[in-house]
């Protein structure tokens, strides 16, 4: 074991900023985290009234790596991503993201951490219908409790839209975009606040093979440019070769009866 549970708990109850600073130090035994973006230890999760059991004994993902979690549809890959994002609370074990133990954070702190540190791209885009493209990209700023929407952020949003080739649609209603354009807008939203970690949940699930390839290239290019770590889950094996590392998901499952 690389860490002592009691020591971690005491750190995890403190504010995020202090926890990160102390966790980065070698004093409490968590010394080997430099260069590691995600470290998962003995993570267990199950849904109520389901035989689905997820167990991740150990998983480390290096900073700046692009990782693909591969597995069949409905195997629970999204569950793992949601656990890493702090959307689902783990039953036991720990998840350290950039030295912050998110499994021990309270719900409000976990939300804030997610908003600040993690960019999320969802399979079904989850864009807001009543906002135009630019406002959808700027949404993380608008719901952030402390980030102010500055001209610099607007310029960044425009740059991102430019990079993915939909700047000309910035004031268009999101419902008038094609699937591919929506997914690109969703990627821009995920990258707006320059997150250290981007989690993409089958972002190519609704795209044709040609657009899937382009979308993945775009994501890899943009996350590399931003210096972010990318974890993408997919069931499309044709995309695996483009990533630095592939993690087969089946090894984490103890039992499964239905999709996760």
């Amino acid at each position: 074991m690389l860490f002592r549970h009691s020591s971690l708990r005491s750190h995890c109850l403190r504010p995020i900023g202090r926890l990160r600073c102390e966790a980065r130090g070698a004093a409490d035994g968590i010394s080997a985290l430099d260069g590691i973006m995600i470290e998962i230890e003995q993570l267990r999760f199950s849904y109520r009234d389901s035989v689905f059991r997820l167990h991740v004994p150990q998983l480390r993902i290096e900073d700046g790596q692009s990782v693909v979690v591969a597995g069949p549809s409905g195997s629970g890959k999204t569950t793992l991503l949601n656990l890493i994002a702090g959307i689902l609370p783990a039953e036991s074990g720990r998840i350290l993201i950039d030295s912050t133990c998110i499994t021990q954070l309270a719900d409000p702190a976990r939300r804030l951490f997610r908003l600040q540190q993690i960019g999320l791209v969802f399979q079904d885009f989850q864009l807001i219908d009543y906002l135009d493209v630019l406002d959808n990209v700027l949404l993380p700023c608008r719901i952030h409790p402390s980030v102010r929407l500055t001209d610099a952020l607007r310029a960044r949003a425009h740059d991102l839209l430019d990079a993915v080739g939909i700047r000309q649609h910035s004031r268009r209603s999101i419902v008038r975009l094609s699937q591919g354009e929506r997914q690109r807008a969703a990627l821009c939203r995920a990258l707006l606040l320059s997150p250290r970690l981007v989690l993409a949940d089958e972002p190519t699930g609704n795209l044709d093979p040609r657009n899937s390839g382009r979308m993945v290239e775009l994501m890899l290019e943009e996350t590399r440019r931003a210096g972010a770590t990318l974890i993408m889950v997919t069931h499309d094996h044709s995309l695996l070769s483009r990533f630095d590392r592939t993690i087969p998901f089946e090894s984490f499952l103890e039992h499964q009866e239905s999709s996760g």
């Binding site: 994002a85 959307i87 409000p108 939300r111 804030l112 951490f113 997610r114 908003l115 600040q116 993690i118 999320l120 969802f122 989850q126 864009l127 807001i128 219908d129 009543y130 906002l131 406002d135 949404l139 993380p140 700023c141 608008r142 719901i143 409790p145 929407l149």
Partner: protein, 400 residues
């Protein structure tokens, strides 16, 4: 919070059909009690102001409320009349100046223009109410009248035109005939019941009632059958019904108009009494404290205060009804918003998954609700103000 408002506005605009329905129902819920309150406040202010500027009113014993409304608003005809002598007694007592009022007849209605009361009074009335002619001049001759501004505007009459009084009872052939009145002027607007009346000299009012009249000079008439009796001792003649009275007072026939009987016995429906001082007011009230007499003296502010108490009770009733309607609307609003939240579950889920705090989600919902309420409130306030402004007259006529 600025961002919450921005997102709320975008959301409301996106769902503008639903937003409009919510705003309309909320606005109506606010508008009704607000308008009633504003209208009653206006009514209260006007009626209090008019009553406050009228210290005392003399009239026949009976309903004090009817007498006050009659003398102040030219409505609610009193059950009986007083005489010119009653007014003269007050005048001669030096306690107050009496202003006679004779309000029994109305002008004839025309298409789109209802008849208004014809107020027979003395020139002191115009001075007391601070009424000035905007056009023409005050009535100086028998058969002349001056129009209230609102009536002049509605009827389109101007100085030099004529108007007809309405007969008290069109089926009574023996009753008084309509008299054609000459318009001598139009009063400037006073925003009071005076704007909705026609004023004549008290003697003209008596002519309309038939107490004074003008007719052919019988003694010079060649047709001897019209003259039934010529009593040179009493300097009077008796003529038959073949002699028609004049129904218009003109330059030529004005001198032929005359009154029969003792002028002190001529009727007044009321008289305003303007006391010389507080002491005089108290003394005058004391003189009429005996309720067994035929004349009573009332203090309009006191009588109107009693009326306002009743209005206050009506207002309370309206408030209770409005409160019930508001509760129902708010419950419906709650239902609509909760259903809307259910419809927007995906959106909320997105916010949550991105890391939006519960507080921010509450702020978003609150901002939407606040915008709906503020918009509805603004519309209701503007609507209420416009309604009272536009329908002030209608509300007044409805209340009286």
């Amino acid at each position: 919070m600025t961002q919450a408002f921005y997102l709320a506005i975008r959301s409301l605009w996106w769902h503008r059909g639903r937003s409009l329905i919510l705003i309309a129902s909320l606005a109506l819920t606010i508008w009704l009690p607000l308008t009633v309150r504003l209208a009653l406040q206006q009514f209260r202010d006007e009626i209090s102001q008019r009553a406050g500027s009228t210290p005392l009113v003399l009239g026949a014993v009976g309903s004090r409320m009817d007498l006050a409304l009659h003398a102040l608003y030219f409505e609610a005809r009193p059950p009986s009349v007083i005489t010119m002598r009653d007014a003269r007694v007050v005048d001669e007592s030096q306690l107050a100046a009496a202003i006679p009022l004779h309000i029994r007849f109305r002008t004839q209605s025309a298409p789109g223009v209802d008849g208004v009361p014809i107020v027979g009074t003395s020139p002191e009335y115009f001075e007391f109410r601070q009424l000035q002619p905007a056009q023409g001049e005050l009535p100086a001759l028998l058969g002349e009248c001056i129009l209230g501004s609102a009536y002049a505007e509605r009827s389109g009459l101007k100085p030099g035109d004529t108007l007809l009084s309405a007969p008290e009872n069109a089926l009574n052939l023996a009753g008084n005939y309509p008299l054609q009145l000459q318009v001598s002027g139009v009063l400037s607007a006073s925003h009071s019941p005076d704007d909705f009346a026609v004023f004549t000299d008290i003697q003209t009012a008596w002519v309309i009632e038939g107490i004074g009249h003008g007719h052919q000079e019988i003694t010079k008439e060649t047709d001897p059958t019209l003259l039934m009796e010529n009593d040179s001792d009493r300097q009077g003649v008796t003529v038959n019904r073949g002699v028609l009275p004049y129904i218009e007072i003109t330059e030529e026939n004005r001198d032929s108009f005359h009154f029969h009987g003792d002028p002190d016995e001529f009727p007044l429906t009321a008289a305003l009494a303007v006391p010389a001082s507080d002491k005089s007011r108290v003394l005058l009230l004391g003189r009429y404290a005996d309720t067994s007499g035929k004349v009573q003296c009332i203090q309009p502010p006191q009588v109107i205060a009693e009326l306002l108490e009743m209005v206050f009770r009506i207002e309370q009733l309206v408030w209770i009804c409005s409160l019930a309607a508001a509760v129902v609307t708010l419950l419906l609003l709650g239902l609509v918003l909760s259903l809307s939240l259910r419809l927007r579950a995906t959106e909320m889920q997105t916010m949550f998954r991105l890391g939006c705090s519960r507080l921010t989600i509450v702020q978003l919902q609150s901002a939407e609700l606040l915008i709906l309420l503020l918009t509805a409130g603004t519309f209701a306030a503007a609507g209420g103000w416009l309604t009272v402004l536009a329908a002030g007259t209608a509300i007044r006529s409805l209340l009286f």
